[in-house]
Symmetry: C2
Subunit: 334 residues, 2 copies
């Protein structure tokens, strides 16, 4: 039985490196696959791919795949393909995001968009999509490929909604959940569900993995959104308040707006003032309010749901790792 | 035995509609699948997809798939999936091409308005890629999916090379063939080779289909490039001389440059004058030269190779249709 009181304690004590220790060698193999540009003939493209991939984040998605495929035997080649496919699909969508947002920095490093023109960046993103498709095909599972295509639909649908959203005033909360599912939840869900498919897990087990991935992904994005209020700029890699500055309304804003709908900083912001001073004021007000704790409590609930779902899976060490990873995700501060 | 003297005669007499008659109902089913937006929840996206798809071209690629899958029995669902997949992948790459070409023209001075539009266009293209991947997965064949991913690699690699090409002077001819293979040849090759895979054709037969598709695709693009010199603007859908205006060197220019390297219009163009008057002069000089005939002769040779390859396939009516389609491709004037 999984000890449900464990995660937050364990999460606080564990660094990500500790949690990933059991899969550190496999993570290295994934990293090598991601960075492999030997098959790219065209020099400038190889350099750009190397740059993009090496400025990647914490590789949480491949880690989830590696742990989630440890319940039943699977060819490591297929696991590797799945792990690389989800991370590569993630990377491809980020590259196009940078064009859409015209971002110059991501995670504190220059985006391709900063040194290539946007046309070249679009093509580089397409190339990375092609890599994701190759890795996906290398899983050898048509059902996994279908789920990849569906996930890309979901991600892009979410981005388009976000691009064409109405501004001013608080949108329905459902829009927020819809958007973060598209942005993050869908790919985490794919990662764990496809892991179930590769292992030939039972429908109940695959459903459990689906539930784990879905809740983990949603919690991951909610915490990301909190870090835009309380994070350390250097560690988060972007300035505090970026979302509000771009007009993106995240969960802390909902909690704040629900308890203090008439707060002057908020009214001012709804009236269209998203200059630095106005955003800083609102960020300050939200930090001092109960909104951050309420948001983190919601993330913790999701993480608990993720952990609870694992109970139907065999009691192997990877199950504890998935639990610790979930706990880490809500406790992390970068 | 295929009558090798037939094609040009038949091609001249046949309209595309005549050639496609045996598959007209199936083409309608493909068209319906391509235009189906019922699964798109988000209204503005559905409208854009409908617009993009309905402004599509002659649907030569799906036609090739439909004929090329008639040598052995295949589930029509799989054939439909392949036909829709190749056309959709083609459409997706065209959408991103438009962004790429626009961003070159506007480089350095993007308006906010132009910027938002191109962002949305990038995402719409991504959505169409996702559709292509869904159709590809619906073939149920992992090998077909692998070939799709490889083809996307090839297409994007070609576009990036084109984007970063050196200007001024005649590049090696190999660059031209490399580019048109990426742009057109690769997807025609995929269409026919994947047809062989779906039918479970023998390696020799699949190889023959590969050869047919490859040569047909190359000829198709060469004729497209000729039409940029001799076509009717209204029927071709773009102004004559577009390629030269954009600095794209196509096969007629090679033939012309080889016979008249010192022609004043050409020297002027190499020296960087790509204003309308200079381009019109060069287009006129090339039209009056033997370069057009030489280029069309090269396309005819490729078409002949395509037709000759068909000989190893069973003598069914679709084989004649593929022959007629190849002949049409070199005789067409739009």
């Amino acid at each position: 039985m999984i000890q449900t009181q464990t995660p937050s304690v364990k999460g606080k004590d564990s660094t990500l490196a500790d949690i990933l220790k059991p899969i550190s060698e496999e993570m290295q193999v994934v990293e090598t696959a991601l960075r492999d540009t030997t098959h790219i003939e065209y020099g400038p493209l190889a350099e750009v791919i190397e740059h993009i991939v090496s400025s990647g984040g914490k590789r949480i998605r491949p880690a989830v795949v590696l742990f989630a495929t440890k319940f039943y035997p699977v060819d490591f080649d297929k696991v590797l393909a799945l792990a690389a496919a989800v991370e590569t699909l993630h990377t491809a969508t980020l590259i196009h995001d940078d064009v859409v947002d015209d971002s110059i920095l991501r995670r504190g490093r220059p985006t391709i968009n900063a040194f290539w023109n946007s046309g070249a960046t679009v093509l580089a993103g397409d190339y990375v999509f092609a890599r994701a498709a190759s890795f996906g095909a290398a899983t050898g599972e048509v059902r996994v490929m279908e789920r990849f295509a569906e996930t890309l639909h979901t991600i892009v649908d979410g981005e388009l909604r976000q691009l064409f959203r109405r501004r001013g005033g608080l949108p329905p909360r459902e829009e927020y959940y819809h958007r973060i599912y598209g942005k993050t939840g869908s790919l985490f869900t794919l990662s764990t569900e496809a892991a179930g498919m590769l292992m030939g897990a039972s429908p109940a087990e695959t459903e459990a993995l689906h539930t784990y991935g879905h809740n983990l992904g949603m919690a991951f994005q909610i915490v990301d959104d909190v870090l835009d209020f309380i994070g350390d700029e250097r560690r988060v890699g972007k300035p505090i308040g970026s979302d509000l500055r771009q007009g993106t309304i995240t969960l802390p804003v909902y909690y704040f707006a629900e308890t203090s709908p008439q707060h002057p900083s908020l009214v001012n912001y709804w009236n269209g003032d998203n200059q630095d001073a106005a955003v800083e004021e609102l960020v300050g007000a939200i930090r001092e309010s109960s909104a951050i704790d309420a948001t983190l409590a919601e993330a913790s609930e999701l993480v608990q749901k993720a952990i609870d779902a694992l109970v139907v899976l065999p009691d192997v060490p990877a199950r504890d790792s998935l639990r610790d990873l979930a706990a880490y995700i809500v406790e992390r501060r970068e």
